[in-house]
């Protein structure tokens, strides 16, 4: 068992965890934040993407024990003060169908826009390479991320 202390969405958490517990299961079952999803178990689908010390990371490829001292943001944290421009753009552009990939997509987009505030289409497609969407065919998601980048640039929001 490992004792871990971390911050998720600004809240401090402390737990004893099994060495083999995956971060995604910690987030979903111990922190009860179920917006982070599991879609594949092998790091391919990105439904479990969270922001881990500022970077988009797949929480199914990370052990909870590795998150000791980490600052994590999940989809629930992004929406804390009203909707983030990325969330708004996803709604506006019909970038959502079943919604299962959506939180992971949004977190990856957040990671992209933090590093590159004005990505072109090819850069958006490349940044979302680690996120699978089975419903939309990606086009409206890509439009949404481009739209969010525009809005964020105009409003200076991060």
């Amino acid at each position: 068992m490992h004792k871990i202390k971390l911050r998720i969405n600004g809240h401090e958490l402390e737990h004893e965890v099994d060495a083999r517990l995956l971060l995604v299961h910690y987030i979903r079952e111990k922190a009860r934040l179920t917006g982070t999803h599991v879609g594949c178990d092998t790091g391919n689908c990105g439904a479990c993407t969270v922001i881990f010390n500022g970077k988009a990371v797949k929480s199914c490829m990370t052990l909870a024990a590795q998150a000791d001292g980490a600052e994590i943001m999940t989809i629930e944290g992004l929406g804390n003060n009203g909707l983030h421009p990325i969330q708004k753009a996803f709604m506006e552009k019909f970038a959502i169908q079943c919604g299962y990939c959506t939180p992971g997509m949004i977190m990856s987009a957040y990671g992209l826009l933090a590093a590159n505030p004005s990505p072109n289409e090819a850069e958006i497609r490349e940044a979302l390479e680690g996120n699978l969407c089975m419903c939309t065919g990606y086009q409206q998601i890509i439009e949404a991320v481009a739209r969010a980048a525009e809005v964020m640039k105009d409003t200076g929001k991060k």
Binding site: D41, I75, F90, R125, M134
Partner: protein, 801 residues
């Protein structure tokens, strides 16, 4: 049938890209998929067969049960003792299969035992401790092997691996062949693939001892039929099962096959005496979560020299794997698209459903129709080449014309509306066909291989259920219908319950748009919870999300229930305003006098009368404002081998794919992809666009990437998304889309199907483009997927992909 003007009193919302009501919860991470439900549960893990074909001689669970934290183990023997076998639908030979393997296993991944433990990690540990003594049997994997006279039998009692063998002829086939100048024949191989919803199957089952009943939460796609199947299999009355479907992370047909697991989980919950949760892993999903079957299809066209197609003949051999419930369906449904968009007078079909030691199959997006359109549209291109015609030219010669609508195909399918020639014309303009042809020639000169692929497809919707019994006799299900409950609450807001589920289609938004225009209101005054609860939802024996029936019968039920509400509200308003119903109209969320709009009553006031001021109600009027309606498609015919319509609406589209093939590496890159699409009247173009593109990307994956490869021992080699490759944002084209709207005369709003959409014509569009690119090498595409390896091999050696 009601006319559009009688249904919609305003035109403010239908046809507009109204933002989806579903999305706020989804972007905030507040959805409730089954795994999100906060319940005190045990957790289940399933022991699956490592063999494709083997006898189970002994199972010893004692070590697993001794592990601390393990609550219960259930084996196939115990399950079989408490259940009936899985019911078959289309096959004609006997084949006994239980929801869990009993005496033998028939595919890698078949459930052999299930464990309930305090957490999932422990349950997985316990699987390692179950000892199963297998006696391996020779597996039968490939179709060719399954058909050999001395092939091992997957089901001994059937006496053959062919569980359905049917032959049907429609129109005057002999005469058509006599008139023909030439015949063209080819065999195509289509592989196994799946639309793999991102949320795998998920079930929580609870057994309530006091009333001997089951409570189940599952992301089931067709709860109406699942309830029947689960109750029949368990031998319990329907009221002993309450099935709830919360949010569902995609379906695409794949979630039609999870009901056998509801049976298993229900029995496990009963044994464990506590709710048990099972969340399928992706590997389980890929092994045993059902596929579209692989198939060999032989197709022959009878043609006139000028390019007219007189008849089509197919011999369709499906590798249906090992799920008797679905076996046979993929053959029969081909009649819905047997002649594609063309006016072909006669057809002949020989259909074989073959069982093998591959995984189970289910109705994956399009169900056999993608294969049918693929072989037909490939053949049309091959015929054009043979006759020296352009691919567009041969299609223009054969299209059913708008003047011929409604057009009945030889087997009885009714194409109700559409302008197929105009659709192709628009598509050619959309992509700039003539310019592309010039570019193709110019690039070839510099060693670059660009190809243009055209494919035209009908996209049938609303299943006329029971077609799959055509081979057996009287169907248990016929026609198609759905139910809805519409109420106006005390506060005047509209509340809807639908018999169907939502797996991402935005049903609540669409319903709100329609009701808003029926009541001169706004969509934000209409709310629909898309979750299903069998205790309260108005479901039928086949309710669910499948075959693109939503736009037809689901909306039909909503419209008819809303109409009942509207009529009652008018009667109450007339009473309140002391006017006649004929003097009233709906306006801005009120009912008012048509002459003097100041004389008005709000929905809230009307609802208040209906629910609270019972003594003020008009004589004989029932209290309350809640109505239920079931709506059936009006043109479904009883299946009859000579004349049947398998599906009841027919959208159409033309896809034009433009690819460049790197002849060194075999890599295929999209340069352009144009879609012109006609799904009748669109309710929400934002949603329609997503469906049209998303379904096409399923075709992109199926044509180029995805393949459930089995080795000769029946081991599946693609068990994660590393080996089973899905399309990524990087590899898919940017789609150019144009729409046409030919309203359907047989649906209330003139709508038609859009969900399966692009998954049908895309396979051939891409294959035709690749073949066109490789024309200088004389390569012929006769199989899918078109992998880089196959491309390189074809160029170097065989000339065939």
């Amino acid at each position: 049938m009601l006319k559009l003007d009688e249904i919609l009193v305003t035109r403010n919302w239908v046809g507009k890209p109204v933002q989806r009501q579903e999305d706020l919860r989804l972007v905030k991470g507040e959805a409730s998929y089954v795994d999100d439900l906060d319940m005190d549960c045990h957790h289940a893990a399933i022991l699956r067969s490592p063999h494709a074909h083997a006898r189970i001689k002994k199972i010893d669970c004692s070590r697993a049960l001794a592990l601390k934290g393990v609550i219960a183990v259930l084996t196939g023997q115990e399950v079989a003792a408490q259940t009936k076998p899985i019911s078959a639908r289309a096959i004609t030979r006997p084949a006994t299969q239980y929801v869990m393997a009993v005496d033998k296993v028939r595919y890698v991944g078949e459930p052999v035992a299930i464990v309930a433990a305090e957490d999932r990690y422990l349950a997985e540990d316990a699987l390692e401790l179950i000892e199963v003594d297998y006696e391996a049997l020779p597996p039968v994997v490939r179709l060719e092997d399954a058909l050999k006279p001395d092939a091992p039998l997957v089901f001994e009692e059937a006496g053959s691996n062919v569980l359905m063998h049917d032959l049907m002829e429609h129109g005057n086939f002999e005469e058509a062949c006599r008139e023909a100048d030439l015949f063209l024949k080819e065999t195509f191989k289509v592989h196994r693939y799946s639309s793999t919803p991102l949320e795998p199957w998920a079930i929580i089952a609870d057994y309530q001892k006091s009333n001997d009943a089951f409570l189940v939460w599952a992301n089931d796609q067709q709860h109406g039929r699942s309830i029947t199947n689960v109750c029949n299999t368990l031998g319990i009355p329907i009221h002993k099962l309450r099935l709830m479907v919360p949010d569902s992370g995609g379906g695409f047909g794949i979630k039609l096959a999870l009901w056998p697991y509801i049976v298993i989980l229900s029995l496990l919950a009963k044994k464990a005496n506590k709710p048990v949760k099972w969340i399928q892993t992706r590997t389980e999903h890929l092994m045993a979560g059902s596929h579209a079957p692989d198939a060999n299809v032989e197709i022959e066209l009878a043609l006139k020299k000028d390019g007219r197609i007189l008849a089509v003949k197919i011999k369709d051999i499906q590798n249906d794997g090992s799920f008797v419930h679905t076996a046979g369906i993929y053959g029969l449904i081909k009649f819905a698209t047997m002649v594609g968009c063309y006016n072909i007078k006669a057809t002949k079909a020989e259909l074989l459903s073959v069982v093998t030691n591959k995984g189970p199959t289910v109705q994956n997006r399009g169900v056999g129709k993608p294969t049918m359109i693929f072989v037909l549209e490939r053949m049309v291109d091959l015929a054009a080449k043979k006759l020296g015609l352009e691919p567009n030219e041969i299609r223009f010669k054969n299209f059913v014309t708008p003047e011929q609508m409604p057009h009945t195909t030889p087997s009885g399918e009714i194409y109700e509306s559409g302008n197929y020639p105009e659709c192709l014309k628009k598509a050619l303009e959309l992509v700039g066909y003539e310019e592309l042809k010039r570019r193709r020639e110019a690039e070839r000169k510099i060693g670059k291989y660009l190809g243009i692929g055209i494919s035209a497809g009908v996209e049938p919707g609303t299943s006329n259920l029971g077609y799959y019994y055509t081979s057996r006799g009287t169907p248990e299900y016929t026609g198609n219908a759905e139910g809805a409950i519409v109420s106006v609450d005390y506060d005047g807001n509209v509340n809807v319950l639908l018999g169907s589920v939502d797996t991402g289609q935005g049903h609540a938004t669409t319903v709100a748009q329609v009701i808003a225009d029926m009541l001169a209101n706004t969509p934000d005054n209409v709310s629909m919870n898309s979750h299903v609860d069998s205790l309260i939802s108005p479901f039928l024996g086949h309710s669910g999300a499948y075959s693109n029936k939503f736009n037809d019968v689901d909306l039909g039920a909503v419209i008819m229930a809303t109409k009942k509400i509207r009529d009652k509200m008018l009667r109450l308003a007339a009473h309140m305003l002391e006017l006649d119903v004929s003097q009233l109209k709906f306006k801005d969320g009120k009912i008012c006098s048509a002459r003097d709009e100041t004389k008005a009553v709000s929905f809230k006031e009307i609802a208040s009368l209906a629910y609270k001021k019972i003594l003020f109600l008009p004589e004989g009027e029932e209290p309350g404002l809640k109505e239920i309606a079931y709506y059936r498609n009006p043109i479904a015919k009883l299946p009859n081998r000579k004349d049947f319509n398998i599906q009841l609406t027919h959208s159409n589209s033309v896809h034009i794919a433009v690819v460049e093939v790197d002849v060194q590496s075999g890599m295929i890159e999209f340069l352009k992809y144009g879609i012109v699409h006609d799904c009748g009247r669109q309710i929400n173009p934002g949603i329609v666009e997503g469906m049209a593109i998303g379904s096409t990307v399923h075709g992109v994956g199926a044509s180029l990437l995805e393949d459930f490869v089995y080795d000769e021992d029946g081991q599946l080699l693609a068990t994660t998304f590393m080996d089973y490759m899905k399309p990524l944002a990087m590899g898919v084209p940017k789609f150019e889309l144009a729409h046409m709207e030919s309203p359907c005369p047989y649906t209330l709003l003139g709508t038609k199907a859009v969900g399966e959409g692009g998954s049908l014509p895309s396979l051939a569009a891409i294959a035709n483009a690749v073949e066109d690119a490789l024309a200088p090498f004389g390569v012929k595409v006769t199989s899918l997927p078109i992998t880089p390896e196959k491309v390189v091999r074809a160029i170097q050696e065989t000339k065939k992909i």
